[in-house]
Amino acid sequence: MSANETALVNVTGEPLLINPNKTFADVNAEVAAPIERKPGRLWWIFFTISVLLTLQFAAEITYQIIKGVGIWGLNHPVGWAVDITSFVFWIGIGHAGTLISAILHLFRQRWRTAINRSAEAMTIFAVMTAGLFPLIHTGRPWFAYWLVPYPNWRYLWVNFRSPLVWDVFAVSTYMTISICFWYTGLIPDFASLRDRSTGWRRGIYGVLSLGWRGSERHWQHYERAYMMLAGLSTPLVLSVHSIVSFDFATSILPGWHTTIFPPYFVAGAIFSGFAMVVTLLVILRKVFKMEEYITMHHLENMNKIILVTGMMVGYAYATEFFIALYSGNPFERFVFLNRAGGPFAWSYWIMVSCNVISPQVFWFKRFRRSLVVMFIVSLLVNVGMWFERFTIIVTSLHRDFLPTNWSYYKPTIFDFSVIIGSFGFFFMWFLLFCRFFPTISMAEVKQVLWNSKKAAGKVPATKAEKIHA
């Protein structure tokens, strides 16, 4: 199959995004196939595991709400650990979805069409997962509504100068806009599913499609609205992780109080998110037989982005270190030396080896195009990026200005329970999505398909195209 793929190139030598021998009807039939047949054994195995992990997650949260956050390894001075680490991690995962759907759309990167739907779904589920952490971390989640400014009996408002309040606005806006964007993209595909199905399915997809019929008058509005949402999502995604980084950067703790944080966090978010997209797509294309849509070319492009953002992250690590040493600030210098050589050095070096060293294999085309290599690297990057947030949060907290404050953070079984539980929760939603929603944007792929047909000379060029050529 790989020989077949490399053979398909256009006049400029770029690989075609999709096999030009396909018909429009093939696209609908093949994308809808996983939804229309009963799920296979693999799906059930993954789903059962995810549901079990989610159940233990729910049990852990319930117990923690009853007992208090003390069941975690949190204590003075490490008051933020796996909870906030996981929050930042999951928000970061979400960013790649928006990058693929919005930023690549604005840059006219047509290869995004096969992967944007699943990447956007990943965004939404990742943000849902992330949103749980600040809530349970407050210890009294039944007062979570205090985070929102609302008229109340105490006549009090939230403190708008606090980055934690900015976070509430940023994350909830991000969630809302991501859902709007995703749903807009889904409308024409729900209509396609409606027109293929009968009975109760037709009713459900009919309602979800809102009665979309593909009228040109509607497409005209649709395309412009989609462009506007992409335009809004682009600065939004950059702002969200910048604001998350402000949670740290606006404090005065050495290791947190640094101006490099916003771009460093955004690069890291995109890096980890792309790794998660690669992890998911390698599985998805295999389980649902989407190899002809999510081609090696798509995966290779994503691996290139992993390489680039991985080096940005590596550069940020180096800059942080350099500035800490160069600043002449003894506290700053201590924190960084303590990171690389202190009691949490293991975490620091896991981060460096996973995030900076492992993506370097992608300099070689052979590895960029190897499913096994990219799957392993994507998992390593996910691990590395989780430890990056852990390193930033825990090593900065555990030894601050006064040695009397120093301590070591030891996770309990409940810390591990929330980490694996969050993965179960995320995968449960993603698996349900793969089962009931079209994982590839059919309408957009058809557009790309027609271009591929033209490029491969499968259909005659029109008069205007001949003149243009």
């Binding site: 940023a170 806006t173 009713g203 009919g206 979309w212 019929r213 040109e216 702002s239």
Partner: protein
């Protein structure tokens, strides 16, 4: 199909021509206005570029909603921050000024995006008259692999034969009379 009242189609009358590729419908669309047909619409599985120009469909007004609502949202966000922090109950937090503009920027921006984005989706739905579960589905393949050109029955000067004749002269794979 579920027999729910809101899913029952509303009648539509006119002539529908089906094409099996986007280039054919573009060629036909370029001729249809020249032949004097009005309010012609196309139904396609994906947006075919050039079709709205050929059919004389005006550019969407949705982006103006995004702009105006985005700016309105940002203005509302900032006003709310200033009102709560400096007017309704001014509290001195860490000696910062009551109107701490730099600290108010993130939420100003987020409110702009939130209102702008949700209103863009709302405007899209209003512009397309969605949800509209009563609109008839002219052909099930129009969301699959067929491209349809629809000439609606208009006014007393309507000449059905002329429309059929014209559409047959294009490279349509099928021409159908739609009644109800």
């Amino acid at each position: 199909m579920l027999e729910l009242p809101f899913l029952r189609p509303k009648p539509m009358r006119g002539i529908l021509a089906l094409y099996d590729n986007p280039d054919e419908i573009l060629t036909a669309a370029a001729l249809v206005t020249e032949h004097g047909f009005r309010n012609v619409d196309a139904y396609t599985p994906y947006p075919v570029h050039g079709l709205s120009e050929a059919l004389g469909i005006r550019k969407s007004w949705v982006p103006y909603v995004t702009l105006v609502m985005g700016l309105t949202g940002a203005a509302l966000g900032l006003t709310f921050e200033i009102w709560t922090s400096a007017i309704d109950w001014p509290i001195n937090v860490g000696g910062k000024p009551m109107v701490s503009l730099p600290a108010f920027i993130p939420i100003t921006f987020e409110s702009g995006v939130l209102i702008g984005g949700t209103m863009t989706l709302a405007a899209l739905l209003v512009a397309c008259g969605l949800p509209n579960w009563q609109a008839p589905i002219l052909d099930r393949d129009l969301t699959n692999d067929r491209f349809g050109l629809f000439i609606p029955e208009t006014g007393p000067a309507w000449n059905e034969d002329r429309a059929i004749q014209f559409l047959r002269s294009t490279r349509a794979v099928d021409v159908r009379v739609i009644r109800g």
